[in-house]
């Protein structure tokens, strides 16, 4: 799967968080959706809603039923993410793509174990306090701790703190 969309999404989300936006959108793709759901599981975003070019109404973010995807409207579909803030600071303040299309970085399970403990492995710097690392595995996009629980390695997408 191409990962440039992930890289773009990371940059966009970091910009949106710095601009203190409450709701932002990324292009609708399976990869983006899986990453957004992984972030949601990690508590980094407050809501993941599929929608069109206009944002869904805030009161129905969790219950919004988007119109069915057709070949006519598929290009305009977006994933709307609710950003979180705590104590005057964004919960997700720094997003950094690790792999890029020209240099994909994968990590095996034993490498992920080291990284999760804070040690550097190859190109992969150790995790710091409160940092998350998202890995694309056979079981979908997982946070590093989920991957370790499920004992899978894979392509390292991005680190979020």
């Amino acid at each position: 799967m191409p990962i440039h969309a992930i890289t773009n999404s990371c940059a966009h989300l970091q910009n949106a968080a710095r601009a203190r936006l409450g709701l932002t959108s990324i292009p609708n793709s399976k990869y983006n959706l899986r990453l957004a759901l992984a972030m949601h599981r990690a508590g980094l975003v407050s809501s993941v809603t599929r929608g069109g070019p206009t944002p869904p109404p805030p009161e129905s973010l969790l219950t919004h039923e988007s119109e069915p995807v057709t070949t006519a409207n598929v290009a305009t579909r977006r994933i709307w993410l609710g950003l979180k803030y705590w104590g005057d600071k964004p919960v997700m303040s720094k997003l950094q793509a690790v792999s890029k299309p020209s240099r994909k970085i994968t990590a095996k399970i034993n490498e992920l174990e080291k990284v999760a403990r804070g040690f550097r492995v190859g190109h992969l710097k150790g995790l710091d306090l409160g940092e998350c690392l998202f890995v694309s595995t056979d079981l979908g996009v997982l946070e590093i701790r989920e991957a370790l629980e499920k004992k899978v390695g894979g392509l390292v997408l991005c680190r979020v703190s």
């Binding site: 990690a42 979180k84 705590w86 104590g87 600071k89 919960v91 710091d128 306090l129 409160g130």
Partner: protein, 475 residues
């Protein structure tokens, strides 16, 4: 052919051969007999000697021979040129000069003998003669200094207190006497015979006492009668009172007039004011703050002086800076201090002053004032890795396990010691500007992540594994 030969021959001829040398005939015989023969005739220079001493064509006539310096002539000249002041002239002079000046003139006249003036006195024509003839009788404002008409001010003079003022007022009032001088009125004692004067009034015999009282009464009545008489000197006029108010000196210098129109400067200790503006010393300070520099800090921080003094402070950076003005460079010292209590409180303060000591004191006080708690993990290290950046200086601080120590550069070391951090690693990968290093470290220490707020922000439970593993018994 040598050019030296004729001269050498002349030297030989005139100097070395005594028989050939002929002394000039004009040399006086008395001189000749004292001079050695060789010195007399040889020149120690190359110029040719004079054939004979030049003499005037006229024979000199002594003044005595001309009858100029016999005693009569001297007397005559002296009488003519330097006569004594006549009584009429003295009267004229006394109109013009004060008695003291007249006395000085007379003393000067007496001290100089007119005969000496005749014999020795002359108008100078040497190069150092003054360019004008002056007896300094007139004051020329351009040339001369301004005359000091009054005596110099009394350095020991002070402002009058109440007693001095009363005395001065009485002294002033006594100028306008219309009776006896104040305090000179007679008393009963003055009317008793001499043998009773030193005895108290109760011991006087009856007739002496009666007589004294009678005389005293008569004296008083006479005084009252005199006071009732109209007098042309009836007291101070309004002008006198105004002059007293405006011009009377308020110092204990006896109303000395000043040469300057400026009022005298205030003394160092003005009575009634001295000591009023001194800060009250707080007994709670235990005498530790005599100069009062910690009073403001005490008020701001709520600490006692003893607590303030027990804080750890350290000068981290000291720079000598200068401000270039059109009047020149103004040097000052810039000092950066850190202060901490060794248990989690840390502050930094910077101050500048032309006086290095003042800059240090100010910076130290600023650092203490700036102190705030910094986050510490297990009271020994920091939370995670933090980075601080000031200008081109980046400081990367990393938490380290217990017993690791402070493997940091000296300025960060001092900050950690003051703040009570015991395990830390630091890197300063880029610029190592001292002042920016300290500031970046301060920024990094203040911007540590808070696990609790991260947990609240994500809605997750974060657990400190060390604490769980050791059952909370980490120190």
């Amino acid at each position: 052919m040598s050019v030296a030969r004729p001269a050498a021959r002349r030297l030989v001829v005139s100097g070395c051969l005594p028989g050939v040398a002929a002394a000039p005939s004009s040399t006086p015989a008395s001189c000749r007999q004292f001079l050695p023969a060789a010195q007399q005739s040889s020149n120690f220079h190359t110029s040719s000697g004079l054939s004979a001493r030049k003499r005037s064509r006229f024979s000199s006539v002594p003044a005595a021979k001309m009858g100029l310096i016999n005693e009569e002539k001297i007397q005559e000249f002296t009488q003519k040129k330097f006569p004594k002041f006549t009584p009429e002239e003295m009267v004229e002079l006394s109109k013009r000069y004060s008695p003291e000046q007249i006395a000085a003139i007379e003393a000067g006249e007496a001290s100089i003998n007119p005969r000496d003036l005749t014999i020795q006195g002359r108008l100078r024509d040497d190069p150092y003669v003054m360019e004008y003839l002056d007896d300094f009788a007139e004051h020329q404002p351009i040339i001369d200094k301004r005359p000091q008409r009054h005596a110099p001010p009394d350095p020991g003079a002070r402002f009058m207190d109440l007693d001095d003022f009363t005395e001065d007022l009485i002294r002033w009032a006594d100028q306008f006497r219309s009776g006896d001088v104040t305090g000179t009125m007679k008393k009963v004692v003055d009317f008793v015979p001499r043998q009773w004067k030193d005895v108290a009034e109760g011991q006087w015999p009856g007739e002496v006492r009666d007589q004294a009282h009678k005389d005293f009464k008569a004296y008083l009545q006479e005084q009252i009668k005199n006071a009732a008489k109209p007098d042309n000197m009836s007291g101070p006029t309004d002008a006198d009172v105004l002059q007293y108010i405006l011009e009377r000196s308020s110092m204990t210098d006896g109303n000395l007039k000043s040469n300057s129109s400026l009022a005298p400067a205030l003394p160092r200790k003005v009575p009634g004011v001295a000591g009023l503006y001194k800060n009250a010393i707080d007994p709670a300070d235990e005498g530790l703050d005599e100069t009062g520099i910690y009073q403001d800090l005490k008020r701001r921080t709520g600490m006692t002086v003893r607590e303030i003094l027990s804080l750890q402070t350290k000068a981290l950076v000291r720079r000598f800076v200068s401000n270039q003005t059109r009047l020149g460079k103004i040097q000052s010292t810039s000092v950066l201090y850190c202060a901490g209590n060794g248990d989690g409180w840390l502050g930094i303060g910077m101050a500048k002053s032309t006086e290095p000591l003042i800059a240090s004191t100010k910076a130290r006080l600023m650092a203490i004032r700036d102190m705030k708690p910094i986050r510490r993990y297990e009271n020994r290290t920091i939370y995670g890795n933090v980075t601080g950046k000031v200008s081109g200086t980046v400081v990367e601080l990393s938490a380290r396990p217990p017993g690791f120590g402070l493997r940091v550069q000296h300025r960060i070391f001092e900050m950690c010691r003051a703040g009570g951090i015991h395990d830390l690693a630091a890197r300063v990968p880029r610029s190592r500007n001292p002042m920016n290093t300290v500031k970046a470290t301060w920024e990094a220490l203040c911007n540590q992540k808070d696990p609790e707020s991260i947990a609240i922000g994500r809605g997750k439970k974060l657990v400190d594994v060390r604490k769980v593993y050791y059952g909370g018994s980490v120190y």
